[in-house]
């Protein structure tokens, strides 16, 4: 699995989070979307009508594109939450047909 983080940066404590049930390295203080990007996840969902791929866009909480499930709560903006120890992050289509 990738770790695309820039090296030589002082980071918070190492913790584990779970992305689609896969144990993933994260650091305290990082946002969920930063962890996703660093771990190589760029596509977060597909659009309703045309099934187009979506991921992070504005990165600051106003576009609502980076929606993921956090601890089984769907439609959370990944860029607006910081990771916590053992956080469960799921990338999938909610309420499918």
């Amino acid at each position: 699995m990738s770790d695309l983080r820039i090296p030589f940066i002082k980071r918070g404590k190492k913790i584990n989070v779970y992305i689609n049930d896969r144990k993933t390295l994260a650091y305290e203080g990082e946002t969920v979307h930063a962890v996703l990007l660093a771990s190589g996840y760029r596509v977060l969902r597909k659009t309703e009508k045309m099934n187009q791929l979506r991921g992070i866009f504005c990165g600051m909480g106003i576009c609502y594109e980076c929606l993921v499930s956090i601890n089984d709560k769907p439609y959370q903006r990944a860029c607006m939450r910081q990771v916590e120890r053992n956080m469960k992050i799921d990338i999938h289509d909610i309420l499918g047909p």
Binding site: E48, K73, P74, Y75, D93, I94, L95, G96, P97
Partner: protein, 384 residues
Amino acid sequence: MPAIVVIGGGVIGTSIAHYLACKGAKVTLLEKGDLASGSSGACDGLIFIQSKKPGVHLQLALASLELYEELYKKLPGHIEFKKSGGMVIFETDAEFEAMREYIQDQQALGLDVSLLNTKQALKKEPYLSKHIKGSTFFPSDAQVNPIALTVGFAMSAKKNGARIITRTTVKGIKIQNNRVSSVQTDQGDFDTDVIINAAGANASEIAAMVGVNIPIIPRRGQIVVTQAVKPILKHCLISAKYIAAKYHPALAKEKGEGISMEQTQNGNLLLGSTREFVGFNKQNTSEGITRIIEQTTRIIPELKKLHVIRTFAGLRPYTPDSLPILGQADNPKGFVMAAGHEGDGIALAPITGKLIAQMILTGKTDIPLDAFAVDRFQLQKETT
């Protein structure tokens, strides 16, 4: 052909303008804000037939539904009309029993309404909570986009020669020889032979300008809008309490006002509603929003996962007998009422437009409008 002014640019006013213009009448529609900036732009799109009072009210609703089929093809734009079918949900055995009789009456009138038990209801609507006791099902209940409908009616009227004038407030009405002669607005006067009062919640104010006493008062209905999602609801839903609350305000106070749910074509759910007499206050309240969310998520638990993206409230024009006021006033001549639909405006807009146009241009209507007479409240007062 008489010159006609329609006051009010909501579903009712624009529907009347459409039906008149299509018959070649000379129509001017005056709207103080923008099209659908009143109740027609602050409601849900339910066309619920099965909940209409048996009798002429139901007859009107069925006739209106038929007109929707043509309008869907004929009006410009997408009015998003869909015959999704409707279900009235019961949460208690008492509600089930009360509705059983109501349904038998409807079936006796030839309505294809059925009573479903829990299992059958869940089969039709898989996201329903398992605690419900059952529901009704009527395949002809439908939904539409009320704003698209209003604009569609207006554009069609305009195409057929009507003048649609917005941002123009009616200030007064001139009468000459006991007949309406002109409408005075902040943009000038409009000479006219006929005035149609389609001002919804503001209809009393307009009627007062010609000395006609109309008991229409605003009744606030709050609505909660969710994010757009993949289809959850297959049909339009209302709870049994929602129907009861309309006809028995006292019941609404103690047992709550019930809920309605619709999923629009775009995927948003419109969850309603309250029925509050608060004057012309269009604010949402935390009590109203909370109650709507509590009751709708109890019936469709999946809703708990969704974000609420906004709320709004509309003022529905209430009348004491829950029937609209349609027809000519005795005095002055040429003053026509077409308001007071409270909660039935969307369903009855097409038939109201057609019948009022018919009445003005031919003097007769396909469906008699006696039950909706302008002076019926005065007469009731006089006989008591």
